[in-house]
């Protein structure tokens, strides 16, 4: 993917208001040609509204949408070189699998023979044996099969950008993982730009070249999955990524801060120095916490009580209590099984902690 080339899609200061409610608030980003780009966010974050504007089902209140440099705010969906796979898949219930896939070609007036050949190809690409599936009615297909038909149909349109609105959310975990891999493979092999929307960060991380995290209509962070994971910009992004520990801290001076545990505050050391009185959140990943044996040292230590432990395959997750009401999550490898009893000393190194804003 050539990042220096002109982006295929540009979103410039786009806002969408429904009456008094602002669904999308001054959002700007660009997608490169051939990229797998994902918009992630919880429900109500505006990701679906944004998607619908990109496809043409809604019009931005202000701002510009540019496809290959051309402004497309007012371009109707049937005139755009984009195509969407809906959450409900929106397969045509009165047509067979084959006719569904052929639909965009029939609309364009292509000859029947050509249509059939192309549909045949696409079904094979999606691992659906045309001999069995071509004449099958879509309502008789399973969830996974319908997904593939929807994708085949979208590919038949041969769009410049393919959009996906949480298409896998209704499937069971195993099918979802299989289809995630297939989607990624198809994107690589067809070299098409994919713009994917989901509420599952895990899904986004697995498939995407770049991810944008949305909250309440605003983009919190855009970047490659690894970047975001390593350096989340704020507490929301950090929390969105799963179980992390976020400590409420108030800087007392320099690198010293007070941790508000709900009872009496604990003094801890920060990895960087800030002005006194600054309130922040301190991010510590579960795998960065460890049990301190006698004689060991760490940047910060705190006595804890082990409440519970859960087996996560090769790792074990501990829930520990600092004071009643304040718990932390710790993850260690199974081999390191702590010999600690109920009471233990927990510690972490300064470099493993990150100061974040809310």
């Amino acid at each position: 993917m050539d990042e220096s080339a002109a982006p295929i899609l540009e979103v410039a200061n786009v806002t969408k208001r429904f009456g008094k409610f602002t669904a999308v608030n001054d959002v700007s980003f660009a997608i490169a040609d051939g990229e797998f780009f994902t918009l992630v966010g919880p429900s109500g974050s505006g990701k679906t509204t944004l998607l619908r504007m990109l496809v043409g089902m809604e019009k931005p209140t202000t701002g510009e949408l540019r496809l290959r440099g051309k402004i497309v705010n007012d371009l109707a969906p049937n005139k755009r070189p984009t195509c969407m796979v809906f959450q409900s898949l929106a397969l045509f219930p009165h047509m067979s699998v084959g006719k569904n896939v052929e639909f965009p070609l029939a609309i364009r007036g292509e000859r029947e023979g050509d249509r059939r050949t192309r549909a045949w190809e696409l079904l094979k690409l999606l691992h659906l044996d045309p001999n069995r599936y071509y004449d099958k009615n879509v309502t008789q297909c399973s969830g996974g099969e319908r997904q593939r038909v929807a994708l085949a149909r979208a590919l038949a349109y041969d769009p410049d950008i393919l959009f996906f609105d949480e298409p896998l959310s209704a499937l069971d975990a195993r099918l979802r993982k299989t289809l995630q891999k297939e989607l990624k493979d198809i994107q690589r092999s067809t070299k098409k730009t994919f713009c994917y929307v989901t509420h599952s960060l895990e899904e986004a991380m697995v498939m995407s070249d770049r991810v944008a995290i949305l909250r309440s209509g605003v983009i919190e962070q855009i970047g490659q999955p690894d970047e975001i994971y390593a350096s989340p910009k704020n507490a929301f992004v950090a929390e969105f990524m799963g179980e992390v520990n976020l400590l409420d801290i108030t800087v007392t001076g320099g690198t010293s801060a007070e941790w508000d545990t709900g009872r009496k505050p604990l003094v801890i050391n920060l990895p960087a120095s800030l002005d006194a009185g600054t309130k922040r959140k301190l991010l510590i990943r579960p795998e960065s916490l460890r049990f301190i044996a006698p004689g060991e040292s760490a940047g910060n230590t705190v006595p804890v009580r082990i409440l519970n432990q859960f087996s996560l395959g090769s790792r074990i997750q501990y829930h520990v209590e600092v004071v009643p009401g304040c718990t932390l999550t710790v993850e260690r490898l199974r081999e390191e099984r702590s010999t600690a009893t109920a009471e233990a000393l927990l510690g972490w190194d300064l470099a493993d902690s990150q100061i974040l804003e809310s």
Binding site: G56, M57, A76, P77
Partner: protein, 272 residues
């Protein structure tokens, strides 16, 4: 939805046009009912406006008779069709039994049947039974046509009946009759009230069936029909307007009942 503002405006215009044309006859009747002259001609000066015909209509013993007949027919029809409709709605939507699917198809049959032919058939049948047609035979005729409608209306509500309520009562020792009285009927009451309103209104306005089955008695629509085809009479529009006004009033009441009952069922569901 991808509908542009101009498209929406276009559709609104169209809908407005349709409604305008639809209520044009009503406008005409109102206009005619206020004209003082014996023979109608339009336009007329405002000096020629009068409510005289309304007074005549409301005071006319003839009109009273016909209204009375219509009311009698409507009330008996409503009572019969809602009662029958209640039980058949249960059979339609609530109980599982072997003939259910056939029953569901057959319930609809009288609706898809031309009323004039049904009226005629009933006339012959009554004649064969040596029964003189009168207002109550018309009530039977109306019930035959309206019972499917009340069945469907109550069925819509019966589909939402929670079986576990009845089963719980059963579990606590209630007899079927008690369950019917204390659980099923109260739950279906809104549907039954709607059905009653429909039955009254449909019977009130029915012409084709009444024409053949009322015999010596005459319902209001028949009287109107006779007057209309025998030459213009200024009292007819007045009666017509009263008729329409009463219908609109009843529809508003129906609408209010529907709103009240949905709100009631929502709050009672919350309280459970």
């Amino acid at each position: 939805m991808i509908v542009t503002r101009t498209q929406k405006a276009g559709f609104s215009l169209y809908a407005g046009l349709v409604l305008l044309v639809f209520y044009f006859p009503v406008f005409c009747i109102i206009v005619a009912s206020l004209s003082k002259k014996r023979f109608f001609s339009f336009p007329y000066a405002s000096e020629d406006m009068t409510f005289k015909w309304y007074a005549d209509a409301l005071n006319s013993p003839q009109v009273h008779d016909f209204v009375g007949v219509s009311l009698r027919i409507a009330s008996v029809t409503a009572l019969a069709s809602v009662t029958i409709g209640f039980f058949s709605a249960l059979a339609y939507a609530r109980y599982r039994w072997r003939g259910r699917q056939t029953f569901q198809r057959l319930v609809l049959l009288p609706l898809f049947f031309p009323q004039s032919v049904l009226g005629l058939a009933l006339l012959m049948w009554f004649n064969f039974l040596d029964v003189t047609t009168a207002w109550w035979t018309a009530a039977i005729a109306h019930t035959v046509w309206i019972a499917p409608i009340t069945t469907l209306i109550i069925s819509i509500q019966a589909y939402g009946l929670d079986e576990s309520l009845e089963e719980a009562a059963r579990d606590m020792g209630a007899t079927r009759w008690q369950i019917l009285r204390k659980i099923t009927i109260p739950l279906l009451l809104p549907g039954m009230i709607s059905a009653t309103c429909f039955a009254v209104l449909l019977s009130w306005g029915n012409f084709a069936l009444s024409l053949f089955t009322t015999g010596a008695d005459s319902a209001l629509p028949e009287w109107l029909y006779a007057r209309m085809t025998s030459g213009y009479q200024p009292m007819v529009p007045a009666v017509g307007v009263i008729n329409v006004g009463v219908a609109i009033l009843l529809v508003i009441i129906l609408f209010a009942i529907v709103r009240w009952s949905t709100r009631k069922s929502r709050t009672s569901a919350l309280s459970h």
